[in-house]
Amino acid sequence: MPKLRTAALVAGAALLARRSLRRRVQASPLWPMPALDPPVSGRPRSRALRLLLTAHETVADGVVRLRLEGGRLPAWEPGAHLDLVLPSGLVRQYSLCGDPADTSSYTVAARLVTDGRGGSREVHEQLSEGMELQVRGPRNRFPLVEAPAYVFVAGGIGITPILPMLRALPDGTEWRLLYAGRTRASMPFLEEVRGLAGNRLTVAAGDEDGRPDLDALLADLPERTAVYCCGPQGLTAAVEERLPEGATLHLERFAPRADAVGTTAFEVELRRSGRTLTVPAGSTVLAAVRRELPDTAYSCEQGFCGTCQQRVLEGEIDHRDELLTAEERAGSMLICVSRCRSDRLVLDM
């Protein structure tokens, strides 16, 4: 009976195969697919935090301090800032000025700029305790580097990133601080700074002391002194101008430079296609590129879907999107919203 024998053989083989497969799957339930190393999914690029505003208090003339509470928050180092998504959708950056050891809340301070773009007005007038705010970050563009000596120059609200730096400096470090402002009453955290700095502090309130004496501050610095400056453009420019040789300058401008706010024209080179084009003021890189390369991928045109991301080979990018991570920002941009600070941008397309 050859037929019966064949059937028995096949059934036996099938049983054996089934049993070994079961054993294999039991030993490792996710057998037999390989995994991608490192995995991509499950690490969202812009996971916004939703934090509760638990304090909204005036700490100086025209300055409010916000305390945002949440569960275990990402750690940060002195100099870091947060992106605050305001209820209207405006996104503003504020330096963290609380204690980095506190992992359950973030503290920021904001000055009211009456002729600004509306962000600070919203922070002052529309926010109130008990509201939930969306926050991204923290990111650090102004990190405290190791140096033999430090000079800090803060203009008004520019004290916020410097305050946690002062607390973090190891004992015995040589440093001094110039804290400038319009009036003493408008300078936030003045008492705390005085307590931290003692005789290393020079206060220059415009209405009492006149212009700050930067020349004296920046004289006789040890070699490789790190100079940290955060303040309005006049102050940062003055420090930049007087920087002695051998010292390194670390700047944080708290308002974007005038040319970044408006829209200026610049040139874009598409290196792989060998074309150069001009992006006019008021138009986008994407629109200009699409005239040359109509099949360029894009979608939302508002800087959140990420479809139009392109590699940047040269040029100072002015990121205006809400998606890319710090690493991605280093070498790429979303061409639908982001622009260029310099007058020339080179894209790898």
Binding site: G42, S299, C300, C305
Partner: protein, 292 residues
């Protein structure tokens, strides 16, 4: 092939969800239903990123401006779906259910197995692109089916399912219903061969069943709150009858519809219902406010 329903211009919506208040078993007392639907969060981040990746390469082949506009809108919607589901994964990890072993495999599946591959330019590369476009059309038949199902799954509301998760699923489902014709029309536009439609349907369907049952078993076995969590087809069938999951019969009946030569996605689902949901969805309306 006429599309009788009104065309809606497609655009991505910038939604965001907060998962802080969503419990692990967001369908209360029903881990199997929760985890079967949770498999979406495992497959979609990598899967929809892959849709975008493939469609970016197809754009130069499109010779119809209206279709191109639809594909552009489709890409942005899919990119947002991928991001939104991706944000659920850290929440699962925080609750003790780490999805990474599984999602790393799904990443491999879409990035490597279905990725670009080193093919010579010309016929081979074009063949692989057409094959993937047809696969997407077949998968979109099921996303539209599921989208239509979740928009009508009143049983989930009656069981007290988490409102944020329901909003994510229904926002996504409504956009899938809204753009359900795009993938199939694109497939017809650049190829449309019936043989390829059948072949890629078989591949897509088998892959979906394989990955889905595996994902449900993975979640049930690794759920820290279940002692001896098991997933079975019987569980699936029973919940399908109760309206907590798609019905097995409905799913089987959707197969011949896709394979029929007269198929057009416009016959499935209801655009008006989808648009009405999007007009009322908490996440979508918040996105609208943020943009304007």
């Amino acid at each position: 092939m006429s599309n009788t329903q009104a065309r809606v211009p497609l655009k991505a919506r910038k939604v965001s969800f907060s998962w802080d208040d969503t419990p692990l078993h967001w369908v209360p007392g029903d881990p199997f239903t929760t985890h079967t639907i949770n498999v979406l969060h495992l497959l979609l981040p990598a899967g929809e990123r892959w849709f975008v990746h493939v469609y970016k390469q197809v754009l130069p082949l499109i010779r119809d401006d209206r279709l191109r506009a639809d594909v552009v809108g489709f890409i942005g919607q899919e990119a947002m779906h991928s991001q939104a589901h991706d944000e659920v994964l850290p929440h699962l990890r925080e609750q003790g259910l780490d999805p990474t072993p599984y999602t790393a495999q799904v990443d491999w599946f879409f990035e490597k197995l279905l990725g670009d591959r080193t093919l010579p330019p010309g016929r081979a590369r074009r063949w692989w692109l057409l094959e993937r476009v047809a696969l997407i059309a077949a998968i979109e038949h099921y996303t539209a089916f599921l989208g239509n199902w979740v928009l009508n799954a009143g049983e989930l509301d009656r069981r007290g399912a988490d409102p944020t998760m329901l909003d994510l699923l229904r926002w996504h489902g409504a956009e899938e219903v809204e753009h359900r014709s795009v993938a199939f029309e694109l497939f017809l536009h650049i190829d449309g061969s019936y043989g390829r439609r059948v072949r890629t349907w078989a591949t897509a369907f088998s892959a979906l069943v394989f990955l889905w049952q595996r994902g449900a078993r993975f979640f049930m076995e690794n759920d820290p709150t279940l002692v001896d969590g098991k997933a079975s087809f019987r569980d699936f069938y029973v919940r399908g009858r109760r309206g907590l999951l798609p019905g097995t019969g409905d799913m089987l009946r959707s197969i011949p519809r896709y394979l029929s030569r007269g198929y057009h996605p416009a016959q499935e689902g209801d655009t008006e219902q989808a648009v009405a949901y999007l007009a009322a969805s908490p996440a979508a309306t918040a996105a609208e406010r943020r943009v304007s």
